[in-house]
Amino acid sequence: MPDQEEIRRKLGLSDSEYELIKEHLRREPNVTELNMYSVMWSEHCSYKHSRSSLELFPTSGPRVVQGPGENAGVVDIGDGFAAVFKIESHNHPSAIEPYQGAATGVGGILRDIFTMGARPVAFLNSLRFGELNSAACRYLFDGVVAGIGGYGNCVGVPTVAGEIYFEPCYERNPLVNAMCVGVMPLERLVLGKAGGKGNLVVLAGSKTGRDGIGGVTFASEELSSDSEKDRPAVQVGDPFLGKLLIEATLEAVENGLVTGVQDLGGAGLTCALTETASRAGSGIEVELDRVPLREAEMPAAEILVSESQERMLFIVEPEKLEPLQEVFKHWELDLAVLGRVTEGREVVVRQGGEIVAAVPAESIAGGAPCYYPQSREPAYYKELAAFEPLTLPPPKDYNRVLLELLGSFDLASKEWVWRRYDHMVRTSTVQGPGGDAAVIRVRETGRALAMSVDGNGRYCYLDPYRGGMLAVCEATRNLSCCGAEPVGITDCLNFGNPEKPEVFWQFEEAVKGMAAACEALNVPVVGGNVSFYNEVDKEAIYPTPVVGAVGLLECPEQQGKVAFKDEGDLVLLLGGNELSLGGSQLLKSACGKVAGRPAAVDLELEKRVQDLSRRLVREKLVESAHDLSEGGLAVALAECCLQGNLGAVVDLPVSDRREDLVLFGEGPSRIVVSVKPEKLAETAALAKAGGVDLFELGTAGGGILKINSSSKPLISLTLDEMKQAFEGVFKWIME
């Protein structure tokens, strides 16, 4: 038998962590217990490096039913219904097996939603890859997209929105963040709690196998070039089984057959048993011999940490077992009764009649040490921040620049991607991919949910504090452009190794920025996920917080859309004046440079702009609304034209700023709307009352986008020219 110390090191437990385990147990742990602690105390499960920072997020509010801590956040959306949502990363598995890595990521986030008793109604995703001129990146990109579609399409949940960016820093460490949104009657909410002494602990779904063993410890280590040898840590998703589990679980919850539900994800059975017991302040006793295995002869530790997909744990009153079995039989699924809830606070595991592990539930689920890592401003920061993009000469040909931006992989139409996702199934998608946010109607209440996912790693790299703020602002602004009131966000924080002070500084700053924006905009964070160690051979990715926002719309017919509508509608620009070319798409695409600082955010203004936007959309004063993001005003106008198949003639607001800054500069709190001429006065009055500046830019119409500055033509492009640039780049490089 290998000595304890070697095992401990292999499992990644530090000496002090080992001491702490002994303290909890008041004795030496055995190998099985060591394995259990190691997976639960991994970064992935214990958030030991991030916990202290995450406390900055506001997590409560009048609508919050369940904040962070459960499988997903729950927000009241009126009429007795709730929205349930969560985002999660699957970066590392996707790096080595893009299809299955992405597919199991989707499957995992799906389980988090129906575990709460909610019917999943939409998927979103946020993806980052290296530049597509590399065959390896194209392979990852294609595989991830196919995997997301492969799982989502099969389970019948529409994939309705997302974002994709391409930067060299993600070349070998792509990001795959999947989000799922569900809806349920409030009273149906079930939690992951193992309450009620004597209740049965029941396992359902797939058999337990060796695949995915050590997944979380694996997920919590930096990728090295030879991590391709870490094979079995990638699993094969089974969306068919996933779909059956949704239906069976929801039927069981609906009929009140279960008192607690927990899905099996990272750290497998260990996590499910200890978390449910710890949340309820109870204990659990189980027999491992009753776990259906895919391979004979798995040692206790392997069974306890296996991450085989498509498994659920239920806490069931004994008299409800039979009806529960009926429901599962109906869906051709088996159940295994593993044991019972006990009075103590210990999770006791037996195999072959012997106790193989006995651990205090709380010590393992919540007892990991909390670290306060060192933080240091990275050397690059001041240098890049000092760069002033306006010291570069302005581009000569603005037509060419606009076409280049529209045709850049970052900004080009992602239709090549989303036509591979079923975004219509469930016939509730009333605004699919392509707009500022997707809109899903909730038939039960007659209302609708808007949703968007946003994050800009470049901004965060150059200024993590502003970058964090900007991500929250953009995600919520996208909802406001659709007319929806943001009711909650979920976030996925993708960073490098937090034990490096420079990385931790980025993390801390970004979280502070996000938290400040959430406070100011009054949006609670109801759940999220942290993915550290996104590094290959010590090179970290850009700090990449991704924000998934969900909003409420009183009525689906009210939704705002990007497209210009009719000839003669007036085009207006609402909001901010703060602009920067720092970290902009222009700087990247035209000069190949990532430098400067993104624009500062005035959170008060941001709030006023969003409030105004919602009001204008809801009261039907505007024909269209579109937020300004990467590529600035020129790109936003082009998008309104392309979606509406209608040109526009506009004049830039008079200013002493450089034209390239006004055309392509990026900054928060800005929205382009179009109105009927007769609605202008009312719109302007509302803007004034709302404390938001309004510029009349020009008129929609014709087949050309003309942008002039004091009548001097800067840009003149036909719809066809823009369309050719905007569409087709992915087909061209990928096929």
């Binding site: 080595i96 097996e97 299955q100 797939s206 058999k207 196998g209 060796r210 695949d211 391709e228 094979r231 079995p232 990638v234 699993q235 094969v236 998703g237 089974d238 068919f240 089984l241 895919r294 391979e295 085989s308 997909q309 051709e332």
Partner: protein, 80 residues
């Protein structure tokens, strides 16, 4: 050439086919695994060179060693 999921990896296709066969009354069936079958016609001066090529393309494109194994047989179709 056959590409199959590694033994340790869950094979959802195999399980689905297995269950379906059983429910059609084929009780003799113990286990089914499903993989890919590829027929590659290629020109090579000799068997060794052909084997080298096939090995190479299997590793580079046709299978992902993270979850799959492959095996193949060579067959001479015609001499040039």
């Amino acid at each position: 050439m056959e590409v199959t999921l590694k033994k340790e990896v869950h094979d959802p296709q195999g399980s689905a086919v297995e269950n379906s066969l059983k429910s059609l009354g084929y009780e003799a069936v113990q286990r089914v695994r499903v993989g890919k079958y590829l027929e590659v016609e290629l020109e090579a001066p000799d068997q060794n060179e052909a084997a080298r090529l096939v090995e190479d393309m299997s590793r580079r494109l046709l299978s992902n060693p993270v979850i799959e194994d492959y095996s193949y047989t060579l067959e001479e179709v015609r001499r040039q």
